[in-house]
Symmetry: C2
Subunit: 448 residues, 2 copies
């Protein structure tokens, strides 16, 4: 697997350029049939939402193929189809059986891949469609959110060597019993990355309806800028930005197998965002993006007896209910031998968690439970933080200057997160985006 | 496999009654869990056309299961779904690739079986759905009209023994390459019969929206009567009647493996028509049904040189174009050493055949070609004909009495067919139905 070397400018792009077939003034090289790359391209539901759109995508794929590349295409269900099927299921069973749900939902991608292969053939080229089980995308048996265990790339290679476009149904696999499994929402991204890893593809292009990953949400910050290159770790931390364009599990997988991901738009030829291994140039950039998450709620357990094992006594019952806890802060009041435990959960789990704790506090001798849903977690992310001190305090100053109170703080090697009142979200995003000059490009920041 | 013995009345029904779980006053026996039959039930698209209908079918299946039977259910796509998919395909490719077409169409049944399994589970029982390839319904590779070669019944038996309803996608199989194949329109009937044969099922029930097979088309003859029992051979000859309720390929398969088929209505508990091996009682019935086919056209090649091999010279080019010829009559004019060759083809092949022959006649030295599309082939069918003479002449007399001219005649062991002018179809059907007293039941005819 190839690792991009960072240069002043287009070295990385050039190498990838060969793979993705875009043109940067090196046309003469790319027209040569001798330069051949294996490219995995994934198109989401909106990109294949109608017969006309499927045809347009097929033409795009064939342009890349005509440049001498071998093409593997991963497709999602046509937009609206998965919802239609979920609705049918909900009419049959209150809590649909997950094995049968996978049997049902996997038809969505099956329809798209067969239509796509027809479109390629109509255009005079050749294609063959495969389902998850036909190319042995083996998964565990956790229906509706299965994990890929292995892929047999032999059949795909054989078809590629016959000159065919290989079209693979995203989102689905097969377990050891031969039952169809699905990978959960966004699972087609994971299929694409896993295939790219298995095939040792030159790149994995994830096509979507936006142009890439942005420094922050363009809807609330007009200065938001498309990021050209971002590291796997930053992408993982920018989850709430990335989730809109790229499934986070696919990034984890891409990191492990060093698969370069190119997130880009189906509807333009513009370069998007490369999600790749960290390099020197990235480190020059202190903050890559500002992200926020309005989907959490905060809970505080007050007057907890400060004794060994008390944290486990609180969080084990919560985890037993499959409630995911994000930030945790413990404030110890040394005088009283009591502590306050504050943490955040996903907002839809808030009521359930409160109820659970109200029963629990008597048992563990805590005093009370309070909570708050009107919060936002706001984060700055950047691999450059590792080598720069004072980033967190800059963040705190910026928020203070805007009169925004911080109620919780958590930090990782490449991220600082603060919980603030929800109403300040947009103000905080814009202030931080300005303060860290995210509207300026990577290169200019490096030169500063 | 059990062969029904004909008695005055319910012997056959009783034995099958156990299998199908209907009640004929033997309720005490059927309530016993010890009497266990393996029943394959197939429901067509209109029977599973909506979530509510799928639930109703699931309840029906569970009533049969609660009587101690093991249930295998074969389902078609929800009504309208196959047409929707065909329409999508036609938007992608002018002549859709048949492999990809099978990939596409097979999703229709996949949706139904998963929804059905959910419905069974919601009702508190257990079910598991399988696709063609999951139960190894192996076929040849003739996409869109594949033939079943083998079925591995082991997995199905294992699930049945776990007390589950086994729900199998009709219409589909898998070829030796692992590609999905489909069996053609009506293929779910074939799936059901093939499964019944492989599982050595006690019966195969084909559910449809009519109550069974009728002595003739009830839409044009008010006296049409539901046939209680009919032989495989008669059913094959009654193709045009049977095609509406039962795929003819499934009858051929049922005959070969002696699978008793029970054609009946999804919407009532009434007994339908048993399609079974011929027995003595059936032979007592001279004519079982009157059928007509308006879908043929007649072509006459006049002045054909009467020399050896001339028939082959006419029909080989026709067959090379995949045009199916039904009736053939050759009239020889001994004086001139010339002959007229008259035959029928499917109406949609008429123009193509005419054009072909107009080019051919010069080559073979024939004089002219004429044709006519306003014809109907009307037939009487009955295994009893084997032992009765004069049936054909009765038919000719009945038609003559109504002033209907016969232009072609062909006979088989158990069928007489006449080509008449199309406008006389209804008149001819009613006259023949009356003349052979088809409104009277089997038994009364036998006693005459």
């Amino acid at each position: 697997m190839f690792v991009p070397t960072a240069g002043k400018d287009v070295v990385c792009r050039f190498v990838f350029g060969v793979a993705c077939g875009c043109s940067f003034g090196f046309t003469s090289k790319w027209e040569s049939k001798e330069i051949m790359a294996l490219i995995v391209q994934k198109f989401g539901g909106t990109s294949v939402g109608s017969p006309a759109k499927i045809k347009a995508v097929a033409e795009r794929v064939l342009r890349n193929k005509s440049q001498g590349n071998q093409m593997v295409v991963v497709l999602s269900a046509m937009s609206g189809e998965t919802n239609r099927l979920v609705d049918l299921a909900s009419q049959m069973q209150e809590l649909p059986d997950t094995r049968e749900m996978d049997m049902l939902l996997s038809t969505g991608e099956q329809v798209t891949v067969s239509l796509f292969a027809m479109a390629v053939k109509e255009a005079g080229d050749d294609a063959v469609s495969f389902l998850g089980d036909q190319v042995k995308i083996k998964t565990d048996s956790v229906h509706t959110k299965a994990r890929i265990e292995s892929i047999d790339s032999e059949k795909i290679r054989a078809e590629l060597n016959q000159g065919r476009v290989v079209v693979i149904a995203g989102f689905q696999g097969v377990n050891e019993k031969g039952d169809i499994t699905t990978l959960g929402r966004g699972g087609s991204d994971t299929t694409a990355v896993a295939l790219a890893a298995a095939l040792k593809a030159d790149s994995c292009e994830i096509y979507t309806d936006v142009e890439g990953v942005y420094t922050t949400d363009p809807n609330i910050c007009a200065k938001a800028r498309k990021i050209d290159r971002i590291s796997y770790d930053e992408m993982l931390e920018l989850a709430s930005l990335g989730a809109k364009v790229l499934d986070i599990r696919s990034v984890t997988l891409a990191k492990r197998y060093k698969v370069p991901i190119h997130v880009r738009s189906t509807f333009t030829e513009t370069e998007g965002t490369w999600v790749i291994e960290e390099d020197k140039q990235m480190e020059g950039l202190i903050v890559s993006g500002v992200t926020y998450n309005k989907n959490e709620a905060r809970i505080t357990v007050s007057g907890v007896p400060n004794q060994p094992g008390i944290a486990a006594k609180i969080f084990t019952p919560i985890s037993d209910e499959n409630i995911i806890v994000d930030m945790i802060i413990q404030n110890q009041d040394a005088g009283k031998g009591k502590a306050d435990m504050t943490f955040t959960v996903i907002r839809s789990d808030y009521e359930r968690t409160l109820k659970l704790l109200q029963q629990l506090i008597k048992k563990i001798g805590a005093e009370s439970v309070q909570g708050d849903t009107d919060i936002t977690k706001i984060s700055i992310v950047g691999v450059g933080m590792r080598n720069h001190s004072g980033i967190a305090s800059t963040m705190f100053s910026v928020l203070a200057k805007e009169g925004i109170n911080i109620s919780m703080i958590s930090t990782s090697e490449i991220k600082v997160s603060c919980v603030i009142e929800e109403k300040y979200t947009e103000l905080a995003v814009r202030a931080l985006h300005d303060a860290f000059e995210l509207d300026k490009s990577n290169v200019s920041i490096e030169e500063q």
